[in-house]
Amino acid sequence: MLEVKNISKSYGPIDAVKDVSFSADQGEILGFLGPNGAGKSTTMRMITGFLTPSAGTAIVNGHDITVAPVAAKKLIGYLPENAPLYAEMTTTTFLRFVAELRGYSGRVRDQKVEEGISRCQLESVRRQPLGTLSKGFKQRVCMAQAIMHDPKVLIMDEPTDGLDPNQKHVVRNMIRDMAASMTIVVSTHILEEVDAICTRAIIISAGQLVANGTPDELRRKSSLHGAVELTLSDASSDTADSLRALPSADRVETERSRYIVYPGNQETLYSEVSAMARDKEWKVTGLRTLDGRLDDVFKQLTVGGDFSNVG
């Protein structure tokens, strides 16, 4: 269980993160979205105790990271952005080092290392210096380090960044498999990822929280939500005008033979459009109500909030 309470970080006059609060329960996979420089990494670094918040705090199963950092850190697993690793160590020596810092010794330590190697599929690189590994392997070694102690809260900063589609798939499956026993916060700017794995998402823009909800709830904020998409094989120049005249229609966008009717009234729009198509005997090849798109919501909420000079 993770509670982030009014956490803020300022660098002089610049507010990198401003009064962000959210919480996540065990079993949740919380997507943390925002443009580059919005404050995602800064927030995660404060939660994990790498940066000291200017105000507010994060509480992990009752342990306040600013008051009892060691107790809180014991329950946190962290995969930093770009998976930093000691280049000269090998996979095994590195994992053994982390296991020792996590308080394991002797046979338990070796067992934890082996577990990490098999869970993250590192068998083929176990004796290789980390500096020589590909991005995908580095990410997985760092992941093995993060989940070794079965953390209560797992924080991952862009875990699929720079991976090829197959590697992304592997990482997503791992995240999904682990979710039941922990709270996972995963930052990303890939919106399809939110649909693929997240049970809930928050959006941060210019250091401030601008949305918090399930992917479906967020989609509902999209201007496309409830819009009707109509595709015709016999589109004519006055089709758009007829659609625009419908009582429930707000506006109409056209793209060749495809029309998107934005709703004034969601309830009745679909039936009005289908009735009109029947009356005018249009040759309809497609007619559906749209859910709304996450990237659309993302754009609506974050445009203008891109401070790429802030961590």
Partner: protein
């Protein structure tokens, strides 16, 4: 107990990392060659025909000036440059444990290099009957001096992510602390400054404390001096690293 365990784990990794790169070997070879050259050719150790290690220890403050900053420059700067500091400081350990672990690892490494000068003791035995106390004092003094330089280097390494800057800062910092109490320097100073000021400044210097240990006099005041400089520098390192977190 847990604290000591963490210091050992951090220290072990750090010490191993010296030997996993060419740094350790280059350092040791250069150190031994340099000390040997200065002792035998510049000071004329054999020509003096005295069973005394003074011409050997005399050079240590100067050799360390060049080499200790090279051994310390990567301690924190490298962690910051590669981002591994983010892993290290999010582990369930305290900052003090990380700082001490790294510091002791580097110190042990320097002491290992110093220990490799043991053939010089054999040489003195060959020349006559050396004063065992003076040799022990000299080695203890040299080890303490190396640790003090190292503490300065640890601080400058935490101040930057650039190893070259760390090296230069440590060198300048150590040089000032060294020369403040070096006799040729203080005598120039003594020509116009009052006696109490000269000795006051000299008291902050590494040099007088090293000289008395070289004579085989293990004075508690010298040990306290070295220990307090080390503690001061490491505490400053803690403040610098904390400042980065809070920045």
């Amino acid at each position: 107990m847990e604290g000591l365990h963490n210091i050992v784990v951090i220290g072990k990794r750090e010490l191993k990392s010296y030997f996993e790169s060419p740094v350790a070997y280059v350092f040791m070879v250069v150190f031994l060659l340099l000390v040997g050259f200065l002792t035998f050719f510049v000071s004329g150790f054999y020509e003096a025909r005295q069973a005394d290690l003074r011409p050997f220890f005399f050079w240590h403050p100067w050799v360390y000036l060049l080499l200790v900053p090279a051994a310390s420059m990567r301690l924190w700067a490298e962690e910051r440059r590669t981002g591994t500091i983010e892993l290290l400081l999010t582990m369930p350990i305290t900052m003090v444990q990380s700082i001490l672990g790294k510091f002791f690892a580097a110190w042990i490494f320097l002491i290992m290099a110093l220990a490799l000068t043991f053939p010089i003791i054999i040489s003195t035995v060959h020349l006559g009957t050396p004063d065992a106390g003076a040799i022990a004092g000299g080695y203890i003094g040299s080890a303490l001096l190396a640790g003090t330089y190292l503490a300065v280097g640890t601080l400058t390494s935490a101040m930057t992510r650039n190893q070259v800057i760390s090296f230069v800062l440590a060198l300048v910092f150590c040089f000032v602390l060294l020369i403040a109490g070096w006799q040729p320097f203080t005598s120039i100073f003594a020509m116009w400054a009052p006696e109490w000021l000269v000795s006051g400044i000299a008291a902050f210097s590494f040099m007088p404390h090293f000289e008395s240990l070289q004579r085989g006099v293990i004075d508690l005041r010298d040990i306290v001096y070295y220990a307090s400089v080390m503690i001061f520098m490491l505490a400053a390192t803690h403040i610098v690293l904390d400042g980065r977190k809070g920045g």
